[in-house]
Every structure is written in structure tokens, then in C-alpha cells.
């Protein structure tokens, strides 16, 4: 046992405080990336065979031929409802089927008819319906241009980088290095299918700013990659990740947004294999006239097909709804999950849980969830409890329930290989484990030692997994116990790049094809389990570390194992902003930093920042000293208490934002440019952000800061400091002096923000409390109320009203007249910002609601 133990310790516990880059591949070390990147822009060898064109009501198909090797591809072109174009390219006759990503799209996207505008021997022109938009298919060489009027919005294969490695027999042609086998460190990848990479380039005229393709620890605005590696999308458990570089992290969403003052567009590259994204720009380091600028993007994936959704905006909100129509919106969490979460690796035993819980009451700090990490289990066997430390879990959960609080316990996807462990035996006997290349159950090392990995790509496996969350299956669980899926990249301590071998087998497919989907499926199955255990009544809450496009439908994500450093606090903003742009709104970073121990100042600043980010959880590594909020002296306890209380007072606003995100797909935490798309000053801002439209937050993220400079956007708009109610004009950089208690937050003039200023010890204790409306002239706002935890809102059990204030009358309109819900809450106070004292105030009641 000892040598293997040493092996995984060496992988996951390095002494240095930085990532061991040698554990992870560069593009040069990934054979297909190296091969593809060696291709330089040139005339494309692909030619469109116009005589093969077929145009039906829903799609256009056309064959492409590679003049170098005569291999034919099939191009499918769809015009989708909502101003999108889908481009699909596959081999016309592949040796065997190539993987097409299932389950990510919420349905087969509805199409709209394409009509032929013109055709000659050079190509065809198709109308995209709206606003004189057209697709031009050029035959020789093959390229696609999407036009609006005289403007090219986007071109595909304009640099000739379309590449499609066709499936072949090994003896067919000369074998290059890395085509049929490659090794990395001590790991060998057998590649029985040979080369299968796909690649395509996109040109974006007039675009200087591109965003998205999380997860990377980098700035909001993506950088050009000419002088280094491309951005990599390959879900990996990166130990002590470094900041400001394109290395892959825990999750991958292959969606990029392109923006300029006129238009926002998006590219969704639906491929779950290892993917690299190159970005280049003709303006990098140069000053050019605006109209001449362009950005080129190139996507390279190891296997599968090309399946691209081009979202044509034109506004940021259009792109969000277009993407939401494909992959769905943020799941609507229970209200409590929007509160504060207290986590640590680990709360040692039930007594520890009880005393931390009591600590919050003693220090009058609200919280909703306390978390248990891996040590709560019986020897890292998930769905079990340590018999000594957590002997009576229901008693513990009941104790929390008595305080209207909840718990999250971790359930990771690696399953201890142990014939006395029920979960393992069931998975093995049902044949649900992922197989190794030789057909046996794949085994890797993780927390429990030798572990198997259930094949979550199988629907029957997911169904079984979900059933394990039933109260009679998951012993010791109760309705206030929720779930955390960690290590679902999947993390394999002794695997290549700390993950699974690519030649592991999922039924008909290789792990290579499905890798980036694994974590998505784990969270999907877990969330389904939590829904099923309540008979479909209660909303689930599941946190995941790995994710893919569509993961927003299943719960929250966090930015993984960060560190207690100021730079990590700063990067939490662009990391969550990037996730929000591609649909995943419920994002947060470990408050305080996971590795290392924060200074008191950093901890306080992190609470202040986290209180204004969607997922608000403190977490700490096993080896760090305790850091519950009251351990740093009364002064700092008071600062942290105040930050958490600000969060709770704003819960009505946050909850309404989640409802809105759930309905529209718009991000909750937004970059400023999303709301001010024509103001170039906002395009690269990532040290401040908006929550919804109406709150602007510029957290203090500098050590020893005496002040921050916030950009307040919007010419002619005004912003009110939420503490002092002082009014500031928009479109200016404002210097704000700060002390340790300052959290610079501004309310937009013209908004109404509902708060509950009676902060109590947990969110559900505030259920019946009255609202205070903060009315910043001349405003509109919304209020959303429901029971806070069930799916009954889908049965129209909620209140949704628009509030407006015009001609000195504050009135409200029912936005959902067919919905019904009764609340005991009332409005206790209306605070009007930017108005002078009224001489009289009249309250009129019409019907049941003022």
C-alpha cells in the first residue's frame, strides 16, 4: 500500500505554493493541438460541391471535399428561431460514428425556413430572415460569411483553418507521431481510433473584445494567444492554480461572446472533448482606426464533430436569451441557498457542528447552511457517516432544523472499491462503472484509495444514482441535507493530468469524447436525486466543481481550490463574471481562500466581496487554523457580521435576480458593458460589477486600501451610495475613500430595491417580515415573492409585481395576474432617495395590495 500512497500524495500535495505546471499539458504536449496549431492561415483545401446542395424547409445540406485527400464532409446549415445559425460539419461517411454531444441542449432547437436569394457557380446566398441578414456560402475555397446589410458579422474558414481529421485504418497512410499513441509523463494513451481532431476559424470584423470560454483564472476580457498557449478547455483538478494564464481549470463552457459598441454576438462550440481556443487580433499592440479592427478565433477539439451555434444578438440580452433557448437557464435555487454558507474541511464531529452553529447565534451572525467535507464519511465512502464522529446524523440535522438551518454534505463521484460497501457492490453488479481500455472496471486513486468511477453518461446509471438520495437509501439524511459534488472533473490522483485516461470506455465512446461532460452529468443526476426524494416538490441545491454548457440547470458552481491571497480575491470577480456571461450565474469563490491562512484584513475584505457575489460560502483547507467569523476579535467580528447582514437585508433583491436569471438567462453578476454596451470605458472593467441592473459593486480588494476608484456608468444617469444616499453622476470615475467597514455599493437612479432590514439568524426566519423599498428617483423595480423552496412557483404560486414611481405616485402593477400567492409580509418603510421632504403622504389601497 505504501508506494501507491506515496504516488498520490506526490500528485496532490506538493510543497510549493504554486501549480506544478509540469503535471499539465501545453499545446505542444497534446499531439492533436500541436498538429492543428502547426497549420497556418492559407487557402483552404476544402471546396463546396454546390451540385450536392439540398435545401429543405428546415436546413441546407452540402458536401465539402478536401482537395488534398478527397475526403468528403457533410455541411448542415440551420437557421434557428431567435436569430441564430447552426453550422454542423461531419464526415460524409465516417468509418464509424463520431460523437455528437447529447443532453446539453434542452431540446432540438426549432428552426426557421432558409430561403435562397441567389446562386451561381461561386456559391449561394441564403436569407436569414430578419434585418437583411444573409449567409453567403462560397464554394472555392469553402467559406461562410454572415452578413447584415453591407456588414460582415462573422466569417467561418476565412483563414482556411477548417480541418477535419477523418477516421482511418492505421495502415492507411503514413503515421505521424502522436496519431495512434501518445505518452505524457508516465502515462500512455492508446488512441485506438487514431487522429480525429476538428478545427475551425472564425473572423469577427470590428471586434476588439471577446469574453467567456470559462473556466480560466484570467481577466474578463480574453487576451490574444499568439505569444503563448491557446486557452484550454479540459476539466482538470489543478492543485494550487496560478492566476492570469490560459491553463485549463475544473470546468469548461465552450461559449465565447464578442462585443463592440454596435453589436454583441456569440459562438457556442458544442464539443465535449479536450478543446483549445486561439485568439488573435490585428490590434494587439497597435492603434488602428476602429472600423478596421478584427479578432480571429480558432477552435480546436480532439474528437467529435463541428457543431457551432452562432448567436447573432444584436444586444447582450439577446445573446443571453439565444443561449438560454439552447441550453436552458440558471436553476431557481431555494431562497436559503442565496444566504450565507459556512464550510470547512472539516467540521470534525457533531459536537463541532453544534458549537459552530451556536457560535453564529452567540455572535448574532446569520447563516443558512453548514457544510461537511469528506471527513464526515465512513472512510470516504459517500452516502455514509463516520460511526464515531457522526454517530447520529439525524439528531444533528434535527438540531439544525430546529434553528431553521440546513446542511450540505459532500458526495463525490469516485467510489471506494470495497466489497463491504453497498454503493460499490451495486454499481459493480449493475455494470455501471466506466471501463478501462481492456474492458475491466476502470480504477484510479482518489481520497478513499482505489476507486471506481460510475459512468454518469448512462441514463440508467444516473437514474440509479438519483434513487440513492431517497431518504430510505441515504441513511441519516433528512430534507434539510443537501449535496456537494466535488472532484467530478473527474479527479484521478494517479491518472494523466490528475484525471481519467482518455482511452477509458463509456459504452460505445471513449472518455476522450465525453470528458468535459462528466461533471455536468454528475450534478445532473444528483440534482435529480434531490428532486425525486421530495416527490418533485422541493427545489434542489447542489454545488459542483466541474461543469459544462448547460450546468446552470442543476445548481451552483464555485471557483475551486483558490488561495488566501489578495490576487485570488481579485480574480474571483472576472472568474464569476465570465461564468455569468455563459449562463452560469450561481457562482462564488471560497471566502477567505482555500489554501493558506488569510490575514484578518483579507478575510474581512473577502466577506465584504463575497456578500455581493451570487454564491456566498466561506471554506478552508484542513491544514489551516480555524477561521469562523468570531475568531478575530470583536472589531473584526462586527465587520464580518455587518457584511453578512447586508447580504441578508438584500435577499429580496437577490432572490428576484435569481428568478429573473431563471426566466431569462441573463447573468445576475454582470460586467458593466452588458448594461452599457455602447460605452467603451466599460468593456474591460473587471474590478467592479453589477448585480442585476440596479446595484453597482466595487469591492475593496487591495491590501491597506484608503480608497477605490469606481467607474459609474451612464451619461445622464445618477447613482446613490447605499450607505450615505449621496448622489453621484454617471459616466465618471469616482474616488471613494474607504475604511475597513466600507463596501462601495451604489444604487442606480431610477430603480426600486426591496430589502428586508430585519435581519434574522437564517433566511427562512425572515419569511413573513416586511419589506423596505429603496426608491431612487425616477424609478421602476420589481418584487418577487414565493414560498422560497418548492416548485410551486411553476404552478403559479407566487407574487410578481412591478413597482414604479411617477408623478410622485408610487404604484404597483401585477405582472402575473394569473398567479396566486398569499404572504404575511407587508411594506413597512419606503425610503425615497434624491427627493425633498414631502408635505403630505397619502396611502391608497386598491384591492389586496397597495
Amino acid at each position: 500500500m505504501a508506494p501507491v500512497l506515496v504516488l498520490w500524495l506526490a500528485v496532490c500535495l506538493s510543497v510549493t505554493w504554486a501549480v506544478d505546471r509540469g503535471n499539465f499539458k501545453t499545446c505542444d504536449q497534446s499531439a492533436f493541438c500541436k498538429r492543428q496549431r502547426a497549420l497556418k492561415p492559407a487557402e483552404s483545401p476544402y471546396r463546396a460541391l454546390l451540385e450536392t446542395m439540398e435545401l429543405t424547409n428546415t436546413r441546407l445540406t452540402l458536401q465539402l471535399i478536401n482537395d488534398n485527400n478527397k475526403v468528403r464532409l457533410l455541411l448542415e446549415l440551420y437557421r434557428l428561431q431567435g436569430n441564430m445559425t447552426r453550422v454542423k460539419i461531419n464526415e460524409l461517411k465516417p468509418l464509424k460514428p463520431r460523437y455528437e454531444v447529447p443532453d446539453v441542449l434542452i431540446r432540438e432547437p426549432p428552426t426557421e425556413p432558409l430561403s435562397l436569394l441567389s446562386q451561381d457557380e461561386n456559391g449561394v446566398v441564403l436569407s436569414l430572415g430578419a434585418e437583411s441578414q444573409r449567409v453567403i456560402v462560397s464554394a472555392r475555397p469553402f467559406r461562410l460569411d454572415i452578413m447584415e446589410g453591407r456588414d460582415v458579422l462573422m466569417s467561418l474558414n476565412s483563414r482556411g483553418l477548417l480541418a477535419f481529421e477523418h477516421l482511418r485504418m492505421q495502415e492507411e497512410e503514413k503515421v505521424e507521431d502522436g496519431m495512434w499513441e501518445e505518452t505524457f509523463k508516465s502515462h500512455s494513451d492508446s488512441k485506438p481510433n487514431g487522429p480525429s481532431a476538428v478545427s475551425l476559424d472564425f473572423s469577427l470584423p470590428g471586434v476588439e473584445h471577446v469574453y467567456g470560454i470559462p473556466e480560466h483564472a484570467d481577466t474578463l476580457r480574453l487576451k490574444t494567444t499568439d505569444n503563448g498557449d491557446p486557452y484550454r478547455l479540459y476539466n482538470l483538478d489543478v492543485f494550487q492554480y496560478e492566476l492570469y494564464n490560459p491553463m485549463a481549470l475544473y470546468g469548461a463552457v465552450p461559449v465565447m461572446l464578442a462585443h463592440n459598441a454596435q453589436r454583441t454576438t456569440g459562438i457556442f462550440w458544442l464539443n465535449a472533448a479536450e478543446t483549445w481556443v486561439d485568439i488573435s487580433s490585428n490590434t494587439a499592440g497597435k492603434v488602428l482606426l476602429h472600423l478596421l479592427t478584427f479578432t480571429d478565433v480558432r477552435w480546436i477539439s480532439e474528437s467529435g464533430i463541428i457543431d457551432v451555434f452562432i448567436m447573432l444578438g444584436p444586444t447582450p440580452n439577446d445573446v443571453f436569451s439565444q443561449y438560454a433557448s439552447l441550453t436552458g437557464t440558471q436553476s431557481f435555487p431555494p431562497l436559503a441557498a442565496v444566504g450565507y454558507h459556512q464550510c470547512r474541511w472539516n467540521y470534525n464531529d457533531q459536537e463541532d457542528v453544534t458549537s459552530v452553529d451556536a457560535g453564529f447565534d452567540e455572535h448574532d451572525i446569520p447563516y443558512d447552511y453548514i457544510w461537511l467535507d469528506i471527513e464526515h464519511t465512513d472512510g470516504k465512502r459517500y452516502f455514509t457517516w463516520d460511526p464515531h464522529k457522526f454517530a447520529t446524523p439525524k439528531e444533528m440535522l434535527q438540531g439544525l432544523m430546529d434553528k431553521k438551518r440546513k446542511m450540505v454534505a459532500i458526495v463525490d463521484p469516485h467510489i471506494k472499491v470495497d466489497s463491504n460497501y453497498k454503493i460499490h457492490n451495486e454499481i459493480r453488479s449493475r455494470g455501471f462503472y466506466i471501463k478501462n481500455k481492456d474492458g475491466g472496471d476502470y480504477e484510479g486513486w482518489c481520497w478513499p484509495g482505489s476507486a471506481g468511477y460510475p459512468d454518469f453518461t448512462r441514463a440508467d446509471m444516473r437514474e440509479w444514482w438519483a434513487s440513492m438520495f431517497a431518504y430510505d437509501q441515504y441513511e441519516g439524511s433528512m430534507e434539510n441535507l443537501y449535496t456537494w459534488n466535488d472532484m467530478n472533473e473527474p479527479s484521478v490522483f494517479n491518472g494523466p493530468e490528475v484525471t481519467m485516461h482518455k482511452d477509458a470506455v463509456h459504452g460505445a465512446w471513449e472518455h476522450r469524447d465525453v470528458h468535459n461532460l462528466y461533471g455536468f452529468y454528475v450534478q445532473m443526476a444528483t440534482a435529480e436525486g434531490l428532486i425525486q426524494r421530495s416527490g418533485g416538490v422541493e427545489r434542489p441545491f447542489v454545488l459542483t466543481r466541474a461543469f459544462f454548457a448547460g450546468s446552470q440547470r442543476y445548481g451552483a458552481v464555485w471557483t475551486g481550490d483558490n488561495a488566501a491571497e489578495w490576487e485570488h480575491l481579485k480574480i474571483s470577480i472576472p472568474m464569476c463574471l465570465s461564468l455569468g456571461l455563459v449562463g452560469i450565474s450561481f457562482c462564488g469563490a471560497d471566502v477567505g481562500g482555500f489554501f493558506k491562512s488569510p490575514s484578518t484584513e483579507l478575510l474581512v475584505r473577502w466577506y465584504q466581496t463575497g456578500a455581493y457575489q451570487p454564491f456566498f460560502r466561506a471554506h478552508a483547507h484542513l491544514d489551516t487554523p480555524r477561521r469562523e467569523p468570531w475568531l478575530f476579535g470583536p472589531e473584526n467580528t462586527a465587520l464580518i457580521r455587518e457584511a453578512v447582514r447586508q447580504r441578508y437585508a438584500l435577499l429580496p433583491y437577490w432572490y428576484q435576480q435569481f428568478y429573473h436569471a431563471h426566466r431569462t438567462g441573463q447573468p445576475i453578476m454582470r460586467p458593466l458593458w452588458v448594461e452599457y454596451p455602447q460605452d467603451p470605458a466599460t468593456f474591460a472593467l473587471d474590478d467592479e460589477f453589477l448585480i442585476g441592473r440596479d446595484l453597482l459593486v466595487h469591492p475593496v480588494t487591495e491590501e491597506g486600501a484608503r480608497g477605490v476608484t469606481a467607474y459609474l456608468p451612464g451619461k445622464g444617469e445618477v447613482w446613490f451610495d447605499v450607505q450615505t444616499f449621496q448622489k453621484h453622476n454617471g459616466a465618471q470615475n469616482l474616488y471613494i475613500p474607504v475604511t475597513m467597514s466600507s463596501i462601495p455599493v451604489f444604487q442606480r437612479g431610477g430603480s426600486i430595491i426591496p430589502k428586508k432590514i430585519r435581519v434574522r439568524r437564517a433566511s427562512s426566519c425572515m419569511m413573513h417580515d416586511p419589506y423596505t423599498l429603496y426608491v431612487a428617483l425616477n424609478p421602476q423595480g420589481k418584487l418577487y415573492i414565493d414560498d422560497g423552496h418548492t416548485f410551486n412557483y411553476e404552478k403559479k404560486e407566487f407574487i410578481h409585481r412591478r413597482l414604479s414611481f411617477t408623478n410622485n405616485i408610487l404604484s404597483s402593477v401585477n405582472l402575473a395576474p394569473d398567479a396566486q400567492f398569499t404572504t404575511q409580509s407587508w411594506i413597512e418603510r419606503i425610503v425615497i432617495l434624491g427627493a425633498s421632504k414631502p408635505s403630505t403622504v397619502t396611502l391608497k389601497t386598491a384591492g389586496e395590495w397597495p
Binding site: A2, L5, V6, L9, A10, L13, S14, V15, N348, D352, D364, H388, D402, K403, K404, L622, D623, T624, P625, R626, R645, I757, R758, V759, R760, R761, S764, C765, M766, D769, E828, R829
Partner: protein, 530 residues
């Protein structure tokens, strides 16, 4: 809107002395002590004096006063507090955010008057339990305090004994010092003739060795001459010398003819006689052709690599590795001569053999040596005895001046140890010395800290002990332990935990902590008053 709310309070006065009901009218949530500020027929002044409001706005569920004093019975003010009378138990305040939140906070249920929460009045039960436990504690304290008096007496006696002993030992120290001085003179007297005799002997041997050395050098010179004289013409030539690049005087890349000629004293070749002067210049560098092939010892970086790696493992998890570490640490020690390459060692040995070993001392010298040795042994023995006395004095000084509490009541713990066994470990506390942990089923002991200081709060410094600088933690601090002392009849380690990685917390009972019981009696009575 809710109207202001009044409640009738039934107060139970004097739990032990029968029950009498008294009606005291005051707004909900107001303690008796503040009753006079809430008069129904007068405007209410916020308790911070900031504002006057009509009395009907007290407890109207809207916050008017900055200090929250107008809403003692509702949750309207974020900073308000609510008074629970808790008849039968202890009265108390809760934050007003806990009023009607559906959770029972006051044992008399008064905080949940409008939430629908089904609360049970548990005050009597709580009161009974508290009294019982206070009673029990009082009994323990009483007995403990008696024991403490004994401990104080013992400590006093112990201290006197130690002081007496200290005086004794100080006296005897003089004797020992004198003895050492006397024996030093004897020793030095015996060592002088010994030294002279040994030097004589050594000198004779050195002379003899020099003769042997010279002969050996001569023989080698002749041997080398033959070896160099490749063509056996009786001369060593420039060309022949050039084949030995190690002789290059400036040790650069090329060994030139001019340089070789220089070595030969400016001529092209030398005969065996003239070689004499050449030999003096080259003999240090010359490598015999027979040895030239032997490989140079190669340092492997392996040890270094393994060393780095091993630091990555928390040593407690991999006990095997700890041993490896130790070995490698020794390897790293540059002073260890056994690490030098084996070839050199054998060479030296051979040289020694060539020159032979020094002949044994003659009888006369040996007698002198024996006599001196005897004197030395006697002196060393006396010195050791003196050191022991010194140690004893130091220990006594330490014990006498040690802070064993205001009346030395903790002195009895000195040089004692107490153990507690958990499911995995045996914990051991040796007060004023160290704390350690040992796996129950084999494995080495880990130091959880050595005595640091008393660390209780200012008003009670002797309630907490701190042990620091234990074994270092992987990626963490050195282990440390906090001992909380509570009053008990027996001296026992009662619990141990590790609330934070490598920071241990133990509970320890001792009669030495027990307070005079009278002070407890007042606590017992206090809670019965309202």
C-alpha cells in the same frame, strides 16, 4: 399595523420560599429595571434621548428610535433586545431579531407570541437542572477546596524541604569544588612527565618514518622513470612526458612541448640522475599508468531528489518515511567522513601499512601513562560529581522560583504525568513539562508542545496552561496545546480535541483550581432574584 402590546406578567418570586403572584404591567420585552421609562400616559423618550414619540408608537412594530428602545417587544428594530422574564430560571435578553422567528429562545416562550411556533415553557425544568448542577459543582468545589488547602500545605512543606536541601547542597558544593581543585593538581603533576615521555617516543618514530619515506620515494622515482621512459633508452624525453597530460603546469587544455621542456629543466631529455630534480616537481601530480583508468567517484543527485520529495508527505501519515528522512539527514552531513569515496580510504590504509605502525611504548613510558590516566580518571570523576551537584542546584532553584500559582497549589503536578486514551491515541500531559500523543497501536510519540506559560484571562491567569513549540506540522504551525483547568476532586485529564489543525485543546480537572465555595453560594442565589 399592530397596536402597542401590553402583557400581564405573573412573576414567581423566591422559588424556594413559596409562590406569590404579583402583577406588574409594562410593555412587552421591557425588563423590570427599565419599567419606569415606559409610562403609558406620557410621550416616550428613546432611551438614548434622541427622540420623543407618542406612547402608542411603542411596540407598534415600526422602528422609531435609533437605539431600538421603542420596540422592545417586536422585531422591528435591527439593534433591539427583548427581555425574557423566564420565571423559574434565569431572566435574560435576546436580540429582538429572534422575536417571532419560529424558534423558541426564551424558556418561558414569551419571544414567540405571534409566530405559531409550538413552544413549551421549560423554565422550571431548566431552573431545576441548573440548581442541581450548581449544587453538585458547589459540593465538588467544597471538597476540592479542602483538598486544595492540603495541597497548599504540602507545597509549603515541599518548598521548605527544597530550600533546606538547597542550602545543604550549596554547602556540599564547596567540598566538591575543593576536591576537584586538589585532583586537578595531582593530575597535572602526573601529566607533565607523561607528556615528555610520549613526545620522546614519538620523535624517535618520526625519524624512523622519514627514513622509510625517503626510500619509498626513491623507489617510486625509479619506477616512474622506467614507466616514463617508453623507449627504454635511459632517458625521459619531452615526447614521453607529453603523454601525461595531468602534468600540465597550468592545467589548461593543452600540455605543450614548451611546458614539458620546462618541466625537464629546459632540456629535451634527462637521464635517471637528472630526473631527480624533475621528479620533485611532478610527483604530486603524476598518475601512474596502472591507475589511470580507475573511474572517478560520481555523486548521484538521487539522495537530493528523494529528500525534496519526502518533504511533501505529512510525516504522521507515513511513519515509514520518517525513517528514510533520518537516514538522508545523516547522508547530508558533510562532516561524516565515512561518506568519502572508498578508494581513498583504502589508499590511506595502504600508506599506513607501508610505513608500519608506531612501536609500543617502552615500560617506563607506559608506567608514566598509566599513572597519569589514573589521576585523570579520578579528576573526571570528581568533576562529574560537581556537575551533578550544580544540576541539582539549578533544578532546585527552578522549582523554588517556579510559578505554581499564587499559593503554590499546582506544585504537586510537577514531575507527574496524566494520560487519556481515545479511540486512536494515548494523550499524555506532564504538567509544566510537555504534552504528547502516541498512537494506541504502535508508532512513535509526537510532541504536542512543551511548557509555555499560564495563559488564562487577566482575572484568572491560572485557569489555562499553554504548551508550545511541539513537533512541526506539515504545511502548518508547530503543534501546541491549550489546557483548560476546572475544579474537580480528582486530578484527571478529561477530554482532548483538535479544534484546529495541530492546535490541541484538553480539559483537566484539579482541586488546585477550586475556588472558595462561599463565592458559589452567591451565584446560586443570584438567579432566584428578578
Amino acid at each position: 399595523m399592530m397596536c402597542c402590546q401590553y402583557i400581564l406578567l405573573l412573576l414567581l418570586l423566591g422559588v424556594s420560599g413559596g409562590v406569590s403572584a404579583v402583577e406588574v404591567q409594562r410593555p412587552r420585552g421591557v425588563p423590570l429595571s427599565k419599567r419606569q421609562f415606559y409610562e403609558e400616559d406620557k410621550p416616550f423618550t428613546c432611551l438614548d434621548g434622541s427622540r420623543n414619540i407618542p406612547f402608542d408608537r411603542v411596540n407598534d412594530d415600526y422602528c422609531d428610535c435609533q437605539d431600538g428602545s421603542d420596540e422592545p417587544g417586536t422585531a422591528a428594530c435591527p439593534n433591539g433586545s427583548f427581555h425574557c422574564t423566564n420565571a423559574g430560571f434565569r431572566p435574560g435578553f435576546i436580540p429582538s431579531s429572534r422575536i417571532n422567528d419560529g424558534i423558541c429562545d426564551c424558556c418561558d416562550t414569551t419571544d414567540e407570541y405571534n409566530s405559531g411556533a409550538a413552544c413549551q415553557n421549560t423554565c422550571r425544568e431548566l431552573g431545576r437542572k441548573e440548581r442541581e448542577s450548581l449544587q453538585k459543582m458547589a459540593e465538588i468545589a467544597k471538597e476540592g477546596f479542602l483538598l486544595k488547602q492540603q495541597l497548599i500545605q504540602e507545597a509549603k512543606r515541599g518548598l521548605e524541604d527544597k530550600k533546606a536541601k538547597y542550602a545543604d547542597v550549596q554547602l556540599s558544593k564547596n567540598e566538591f569544588e575543593k576536591r576537584v581543585e586538589a585532583l586537578r593538581t595531582v593530575k597535572e603533576t602526573a601529566e607533565q612527565p607523561e607528556k615528555e615521555a610520549k613526545e620522546r617516543h614519538l620523535k624517535a618514530w618520526e625519524d624512523q618514518k622519514a627514513v622509510i619515506q625517503m626510500e619509498k620515494d626513491k623507489a617510486r622515482k625509479a619506477e616512474v622513470f622506467l614507466e616514463l621512459d617508453d623507449d627504454a633508452d635511459g632517458f625521459v624525453s619531452v615526447a614521453e612526458l607529453l603523454s601525461h597530460s595531468e602534468l600540465d603546469p597550468d592545467s589548461d587544455v593543452s600540455f605543450t612541448e614548451a611546458e614539458a621542456q620546462g618541466l625537464l629543466g629546459g632540456v629535451d631529455k634527462v637521464d635517471a640522475v637528472a630526473f631527480e630534480s624533475v621528479w620533485i616537481n611532478i610527483k604530486e601530480k603524476y598518475i601512474s599508468e596502472a591507475n589511470a583508468d580507475s573511474p572517478a567517484p560520481v555523486e548521484t543527485p538521487l539522495a537530493e531528489m528523494r529528500d525534496n520529495e519526502s518533504e511533501q508527505y505529512p510525516e504522521e501519515d507515513i511513519p515509514d518515511d520518517e525513517e528514510d528522512d533520518d537516514e538522508e539527514d545523516e547522508d547530508d552531513d558533510p562532516d561524516d567522513d565515512y561518506k568519502s569515496p572508498p578508494t581513498m580510504q583504502t589508499q590511506e590504509k595502504k600508506d599506513d601499512e607501508d610505513e608500519g605502525t608506531m612501536p609500543p611504548y617502552d615500560q617506563e613510558t607506559q608506567n608514566l601513562i598509566d599513572a597519569a590516566q589514573k589521576a585523570r580518571d579520578a579528576f573526571d570523576e570528581a568533576e562529574r560529581a560537581l556537575r551533578e551537584v550544580d544540576d541539582q542546584i539549578k533544578n532546585l532553584e527552578k522549582e523554588i522560583s517556579f510559578d505554581f500559582g499564587p499559593t503554590a497549589e499546582f506544585a504537586y503536578l510537577y514531575s507527574q504525568c496524566y494520560e487519556l486514551t481515545s479511540s486512536e491515541y494515548i494523550y499524555r500531559l506532564c504538567p509544566f513539562n510537555r504534552v504528547s500523543q502516541k498512537p494506541k497501536y504502535g508508532g512513535s510519540e509526537t510532541n504536542l508542545g512543551t511548557w509555555g506559560q499560564w495563559a488564562g484571562p487577566e482575572d484568572n491567569p491560572y485557569s489555562i496552561m499553554k504548551y508550545e513549540h511541539g513537533t512541526g506540522c506539515w504545511q502548518g504551525p508547530n503543534r501546541s496545546t491549550t489546557i483548560k483547568l476546572t475544579c474537580g476532586k480528582e486530578t484527571v485529564l478529561t477530554s482532548t480535541s483538535e479544534p484546529s489543525r495541530c492546535e490541541y485543546l484538553m480539559e483537566f480537572t484539579s482541586p488546585a483550581v477550586c475556588q472558595e465555595p462561599s463565592s458559589l453560594d452567591s451565584v446560586l442565589h443570584e438567579h432566584e432574584e428578578l
